[in-house]
Amino acid sequence: MIGKSATSRKILLLAPLLLFLGLAYVVPFLGVVRWSFTMPEVGLGQYRALFTDPLVQSVFIRTLRICLVVTAAALVAAYAIGYVWVRGSSVQRMLAEFCILVPFWISVLTRAFGWLAMLSNRGLINTWLQSAGIISEPLALARNELGVIIGMTHFLIPFAVFPIASAMRSIDERVLLAARGMGASRTRIFWTVFVPLTSGGLIGAALIVFVFALGFFVTPAILGGGRSVMVAELVYLRIFQSPDWGLGAAISVVLVLFIGILLALMRRFIKPAHLVG
């Protein structure tokens, strides 16, 4: 009896959140699902279009490509930062913490414009390089896919650091000592012991970054300059700039389904508690 009432009390505590999520997300999304089957006419026409429309296809392919590159880049950077954060000297740890947390506190919009100031043709990098005489023509760093990848990677690194650092922290120091005692070099220990023991964190980080990246809107819209449209921006364009609500809705539904599958996969590989460090 006590157990039961404790459980129901916990559900009561969760209720406001469930109610909010239901009203703000689930119900409206069901409306979107309905649009995808009814606009402009009832049927599977919009879903058929997803597989035939070359524009939609190219956006999907670009989105997957950008997400894969961003995931790979963010993992490598996050692994290095996480390593310093977990195993560095106290000064190094503080620096790493600074690099992880400060971007976290700054809005995505500010950061996108910050990168634009860095990367655009008349941005800091191109100006410096030109005045130093290293290049004569500005490098195309923004308003293209490269700019989108740089901006997104930077945004997503902290999200990858947490699960990776958590995995690094849970390694038993004695296991590394044991490997050393058996004569293994630092490089060998890193690749044959340290990295394999953090593989759970790496998989978790990869899924988080990838899922997050799939729905990116602000960063690609600003740094891509309309030339590197990703799925979320395509939905926006279909719904707000062309009277094509049905197609926009169908794209949304496919995106949500895809992300749902990835999240289910993630639950199999890593406990949610490990993702927050």
């Binding site: 004695r174 044991a178 005692g181 058996m182 004569g183």
Partner: protein, 368 residues
């Protein structure tokens, strides 16, 4: 176990520690420690936690650098040789197995590091798996093994590359009593078969006495005594060693009279005769006698024994032995342990004589 699987061609090393000191900030973990570890011996470092024994093992392993002093192995100074180049086997507390590798891969790791051929690795790992009784478990991950099996993997992994020294850091602390005794016998057998120098850390005195060829007793960062188990148990050089190695009765003596290697003193108006095992001065000392060396009887017994009168306060039954709790006339507590089978129960409040042979007691300084 087939006899032809000898690892004995592994060369055992001898190590000399010369004035090793280690400080962590203001804390002296080790103070001016000198110790010779003989070729092929089984040396146990024994002491309470924080006594410096593990610090010393970590210095031997090369994981910790001493603040002062030198380490010399087979005549070569190895103080600055890093752990990975010392090639010692090591068994860690908690085993420190690679959780992502199978039993076989764990044992193969040190051989792979050494670039041995895959056929040699396969053969040696197979031999080792058989030696430690893990046949059938080769493909399992450590998490699927019992504590005792993990222990065997750790031993196999530490011995497979035929190290000249094997270091063991409290390897049995996580095992229950029966399993621990089994693994102790196993380690003893591996020591005899390999002939390698074993350095073993424990805080369990009975484990130290049962396994070692010599025991080194540590306290507060100092090495107090090194010797054969029988010597440190029966001839401790100071009170800490005497009390740490097992229960002991302490009888304050006065009017001490020294005569060669014998000493005599007064305890409750009776003369007690003892061996003198260390230099003594002054007229006061403490007679130290192990409970199992004393006997309870109705009369004072023969004249070559010391005897005092006591009253029985109670008894504790331990199966094979029974321990009697007694008080002397002036209230000093005593414990006497006797084989249960050899005695009939003695009722509390009985007045008895407690006696022991003169060569079984020893003198300790009264201060500490």
């Amino acid at each position: 176990m087939p006899q032809n699987m000898q690892l004995s061609d592994a060369k055992a090393a001898e190590i000399k520690a010369v004035s090793i000191g280690k400080t962590f900030g203001a804390f002296h973990a080790l103070k001016d420690l000198s110790l010779d570890i003989g070729r092929g011996e089984f040396l146990t470092l024994l002491g309470p936690s924080g006594s410096g024994k593990t610090t010393f093992l970590m210095i031997l392993a090369g994981f910790t650098a001493p603040t002062t002093g030198r380490l010399v192995m087979d005549g070569k100074d190895i103080t600055d040789v890093p752990a990975e180049d010392r090639s010692y086997g090591m068994v860690f507390q908690g085993y420190a197995l690679f959780p992502h590798l199978t039993v076989e891969q764990n044992i193969a790791f040190p051989l792979k590091v050494r670039g041995r051929s895959s056929s040699e690795i396969k053969r040696k790992v197979g031999e080792m798996v058989e030696r430690v009784g893990l046949v059938g478990h080769e493909k399992k991950l450590p998490a699927k093994l019992s504590g005792g099996q993990q222990q065997r993997v750790a031993l196999a992994r530490a011995l497979v590359f035929e190290p000249s020294v094997l270091l063991l850091d409290e390897p049995f602390s996580a095992l229950d009593k029966n399993l621990r005794e089994m693994m102790q016998q196993e380690v003893k057998r591996l020591h005899e078969e390999t002939g390698t120098t074993f350095v073993f850390v424990t805080h369990d005195q009975s484990e130290a006495l049962a396994l070692s060829s010599r025991v080194a007793i540590f306290n507060h960062g100092e090495l107090l005594q090194v010797g054969k188990p029988k010597d440190v148990y029966e001839r401790p050089e100071n009170r800490f060693v005497a009390e740490f190695l097992g229960e002991i009765n302490l009888l304050p003596l006065d009017a001490l009279h020294l005569d060669g290697d014998r000493a005599a003193g007064q305890f409750e108006e009776r003369t007690i005769v003892l061996n003198k095992t260390m230099p003594m001065t002054g007229s006061n000392a403490v007679a130290a006698i192990r409970p199992e060396h004393m006997v309870i009887s109705a009369s004072p017994q023969s004249s070559d024994r010391n005897a005092i009168t006591c009253r029985v306060e109670g008894a504790t039954y331990f199966g094979a032995s029974t321990k009697y709790h007694l008080k002397t006339r002036k209230g000093t507590s005593l414990a006497v342990s006797m084989p249960t089978a050899a005695t009939s129960p003695i009722a509390p409040q009985t007045d008895v004589w407690v006696s022991w042979p003169v060569n079984q007691g020893f003198l300790l300084p009264s201060g500490g």
